[in-house]
Symmetry: C2
Subunit: 794 residues, 2 copies
Amino acid sequence: MDDIRLQLTPLQADELRNMDRYWRACNYLSVGMIYLRANPLLREPLAAAHIKRRLLGHWGSDPGQSLVLVHLNRVIRRRDLNVIFISGPGHGAPATLAHSYLEGRYSEIYPDRAETEEGMGRLFRLFSFPGGIGSHCTPETPGSIHEGGELGYSLSHGYGAAFDNPDLIVTVMIGDGEAETGPLATSWHSNKFLNPARDGAVLPVLHLNGYKIANPTVLARIPHEELEALFTGYGYRPYFVEGDDPEKMHQWMAATLDRCIDEIQAIQHRARREGDLQRPRWPMIILRSPKGWTGPREFDGHQVEGTWRAHQVPIADPASNDESLRLVEAWLRSYRPDDLFDEAGKLRAELRALAPEGPRRISANPHANGGSLCKALDLPEFADYAVDVGEPATRYVSPTGVLGTYLRDVMRRNMTSFRVFGPDETASNKLTAIYEASQKTWLAQIVESDSDGGELSVDGRVMEMLSEHTLEGWLEGYTLTGRHGLLATYEAFVHVIDSMFNQHAKWLEKAKRELRWRQPVPSLNLLITSLVWRQDHNGFTHQDPGFLDVVTNKSPDVVRIYLPPDANCLLSVADHCLRSRDYVNVIVADKQPHLQYLDMKDAITHCTKGIGIWDWASTDQGHEPDVVMASAGDIPTMEALAAVEILKDLFPDLKIRFVNVVDLFRLMPASDHPHGLSSRDFDSLFTTSRPVIFNFHSYASLIHKLTFRRTNHENIHVHGYAEKGNINTPLELAIINGIDRFTLAIDVIDRVAGLRGVGDHAKERLRGLRIEHLNYAHTEGIDSEAIREWTWKA
Amino acid sequence: MDDIRLQLTPLQADELRNMDRYWRACNYLSVGMIYLRANPLLREPLAAAHIKRRLLGHWGSDPGQSLVLVHLNRVIRRRDLNVIFISGPGHGAPATLAHSYLEGRYSEIYPDRAETEEGMGRLFRLFSFPGGIGSHCTPETPGSIHEGGELGYSLSHGYGAAFDNPDLIVTVMIGDGEAETGPLATSWHSNKFLNPARDGAVLPVLHLNGYKIANPTVLARIPHEELEALFTGYGYRPYFVEGDDPEKMHQWMAATLDRCIDEIQAIQHRARREGDLQRPRWPMIILRSPKGWTGPREFDGHQVEGTWRAHQVPIADPASNDESLRLVEAWLRSYRPDDLFDEAGKLRAELRALAPEGPRRISANPHANGGSLCKALDLPEFADYAVDVGEPATRYVSPTGVLGTYLRDVMRRNMTSFRVFGPDETASNKLTAIYEASQKTWLAQIVESDSDGGELSVDGRVMEMLSEHTLEGWLEGYTLTGRHGLLATYEAFVHVIDSMFNQHAKWLEKAKRELRWRQPVPSLNLLITSLVWRQDHNGFTHQDPGFLDVVTNKSPDVVRIYLPPDANCLLSVADHCLRSRDYVNVIVADKQPHLQYLDMKDAITHCTKGIGIWDWASTDQGHEPDVVMASAGDIPTMEALAAVEILKDLFPDLKIRFVNVVDLFRLMPASDHPHGLSSRDFDSLFTTSRPVIFNFHSYASLIHKLTFRRTNHENIHVHGYAEKGNINTPLELAIINGIDRFTLAIDVIDRVAGLRGVGDHAKERLRGLRIEHLNYAHTEGIDSEAIREWTWKA
């Protein structure tokens, strides 16, 4: 790769000097945040009393990040670029905070941290201070859409932000620690999914800072040739900027950034003006600079700059050790604060002039406050996609198949602000109708046979890569910049992104509850499908409905779980979710053909209430029931209804109430979740004393977790997935986990006082049927057709 | 890269012909498994009645995998190699099953599937059949240590198996779909952690099969130069084998495998005889072969072979469509079964002679039944590492710091069968004593400054890479091949491997419960540290104790959770876990200095019981208590004890019982978990009617999930993490989540009937103290030293 090296010196002396001063200002602020509780501009000699009592913060990656930010400002101004910055390195917030403070944006949002000596002092004091400013790029950080507390997602967030934002350049700084994570390692391949005409650009800057917390990084310790080969192999054109001499590094970085922007603009020109949509070789930068650059060379007999010892607080004890105090002072003064800030404490005007203005400032770019740009989706009338149900429980339809037709038209009406994501499973998950609106994005090679059902196109809007991490990261980046989407994935493997879900929920919680300046962003919609109860053929590894347990641990302000029992309910739920803001909506719905129950009018009513009695399935009209049969989830609902049919036939006088739950949080007390039912409403549905047989989609204990405070809780008996499975038929899988019609009916007989004894013979017949069906499955390899029939056959 | 190409033809005509026949036998069996319920050797014309009623299975990757297996047999035999095979491609079991059946191993384990026509018929019939054989390489599969139901972990499993197995060659077949996942993408870098002298070799075979379920794969659709650069960049020497002509492919694969084994042996020779421990460029193979190779070229007007249509069952309807039936028959007959199997249905002798014998067979290699090779660790007496506690709750010690000294000596005594894993956090997690026994494995570049505390060595046994996925994969591979280890990780980020934990627990469950031939393997030990309650400074992203919820969803046969309250308890628990087999042991223990409570004798007693009353902290001696104060977890225990101190001071006559829980599953009913307490025992600890204030480490609802069936459940009031956090001090974080001493004491006053009213004044003072401490934290940035004192200060 021919680099630019140092033959180019694009910066004139003046510009170079001022850019270096700006960089020093960033570095000064970063160090100040870590150490100082007072005396922010060092206008008096540094004393122990000026030092925070607990030193927290991470110095290591700040100077490198600040270097990039300062140079981004230059190209933004010179070319009027639209740039956001994603900070990947762990705990690198001081650089980003410093930069936003110097641009004035920080003080606009937080006037108590004004561009004055006092405001600077407050910024310093609050950083990593109880009740104060976090050490990551938290939602409180202007210009951030990526907190980065957990590592691995910076680059996928960056690509997500760039999709459908043709004018945007997303600069993603990737720590070489973060680069070791799996999610980051595969997200480099996102360049095969970025369309240079329609999408913006992503400029990755891999920061070879050299060290993690306590170890060197892998990428910093492989030969140059391997490094270059690796990123060439990932499909980039890597440009190296390496060294520790500030002056040389400024020239080299300026020349490199110019070159990268030139290339980006040339690629976009070719794509947009000349129609060349070949996958380009996008530029990237590999910045190798010392960890803790410009900080103390050594301390206490150990090298600090350029080692892992510079990761956090390089000099640990200035409050108690006078020599250390002097070192910290010398370090701070090495940036010459008086040369950078005026008498009042504001960045000097000639330096401020280096920053862009208004919304061109990285810290004020509206894309990083995506809600401010967000437009509601133009949604078709979901009721138009209704399934004709006829008599309840007589027709089989694939719920996700129906959803696909609706999503197809959502896509057609929102061709620049809506995408569907899936790990190679969109077709498997029966959402294929979407392809009528848009094919799958594919910038890698397309071959002739792809024209036969491959559905690949450089213009596609369906995003499929076999990496749940990358997809989730893209979707997060897409929604945080104000656009809409849905990720459909196999239920068992949504656990792959448990941790990403946790982090996104935490982001939403902070942004929504504590930050009025952050506008609400579109909800992140997760369609969980290929459900446990139809993973009978894929076996045990594909059976895990436990994601809901993870979700229920997050703040009730931001999480929602829906289990629509049929296709019309799914449509109603999907419409609701696509209109919502600031949630993670988890929709659990299977792809296989299932019985349908509610016509659209009833579905809307039911989903609006989120929970309700199905009179047509109940036999308690006007009376206190003998038993409540409850269900949540499509397959458990079918089995519960079948159990009711069996019971009706066996015990015509039994008063059964059938309750179905769509909105799972309805079960929680109203005090614990905004969707929670009042005690009165809960008790009126579930009674205060009758047995409740609850057939649940997931692990049974979750229902107990949600209902343990309810009056009738001790009578709630939950059936759910019991971690039993192998290669089974659907009914067999239901039976071995005890959510099948026979087991439910037996449980009712056992729980209803009036049936004890009377029902013994029936129980025996039901047990016999269970065995008979298992035997049939083991002989024929399929469930008996008889189980599709509603009639109770003895 | 200079390839071998076709100038080499290592196979003589006879050998070539027979290897091709062996390969055809594999392919025949693979197709038979997918389609046939009878007529396994096609000794009569294929009829609809011979076809399974539900066709399940995945044909696409089988022929490529079988090709590699057949050629591995050749090199094993010629060079007497010790080889295991890991099958990464999803649902690729038919190839592996076929291979193990042809080697006779399958029938040794499952005599009902003998090497006869009848046995073959049964194998076919049971494959992907209810109650039968899975479509992944499940634990039931001889020779498998990697099920692969969830994709991404084949290569890290392979490296884990190779560590400390110097004679072993682990061939890992990686699907190009799987290769898109994050965990797989970063696991290529495992080569920087493999020592050629001490460890075995890993030979990756990337299978460019071209397609996933419904899409092309990224790696199959980038130019050759990028592909080669990518793997050069990952540090390998890639050899390409590409084509679809069987004869040429046999020659090419044979020559390539010879070359790869030569290189592996040369590398090992240089390392072992010449002491050259430079990181070598290990060979790898990139096999590009058509998906569904040798299967139907087309069907129903669509190309099948070489496209995603060959992924599962290429011809869908032979039972109902006569033309399809003829196609399937022709496909099966194209392998000429009579040429492959003798009259009885056994592989012909000249072909069987191509397979290795006994334990050299891949399907019978003892490393893939690791328990059979497993030796117990030589453990030091853990009590020798005891902390001198003195009076309970008077001294501060880092529990993991103490554990580090014990683990150091475990390592010293087991220098070829024990490793410690951590994502760049071993030092942060205070396990640094381990480095006295062994440094960190590092085969990448080592520089001069590393000698100052870098602790890096090619001979290291501490495994640190910033990828929880890779570490967990290594540890799984290491334990499944019979060795011992422990992974220590930050609590919040153990969620990164939720899904890997789920899959490993499922593997253990099947292996333990259903497969007598699989010997028990060492437990997988997860030390969860840097706990939520001391992530006050790292903020909200680092606060997530919800992994325990994921764990409790898995089978009680294989999961254990321990929350040792202090260092001596941690030692006792660790010793227990390191001796155990076939579990995932989750140990929750913090790294910061904490108060110590139990001397070693009491710690052993307490941990053996797993739950118990702490008399020294209780005031109910000999009486029914007024209130039970319970705790689980180190920080919650400290706060609960402090609350007791406060209450003693306020209400000297109050009878408080203090219960501490180490073994979390003690709380479950005995019927639900083998560690569960009987009702009588539970009630004798928690009473049947008194208020129980339970201070819990994780989310409160988990305690309800475990105890909802207990007599006194409605009186159990749990305090736990409530998803509230930011930059806080430790006490502040406790207060805002309500697990602090003041809140607990207030709760007791509210719950104990006799204190209502009487305690109003005290409650006010306690509330005042809460505020006072928060104010102090927000002024000084630290907790007041006063909170370390036990005395109740009003």
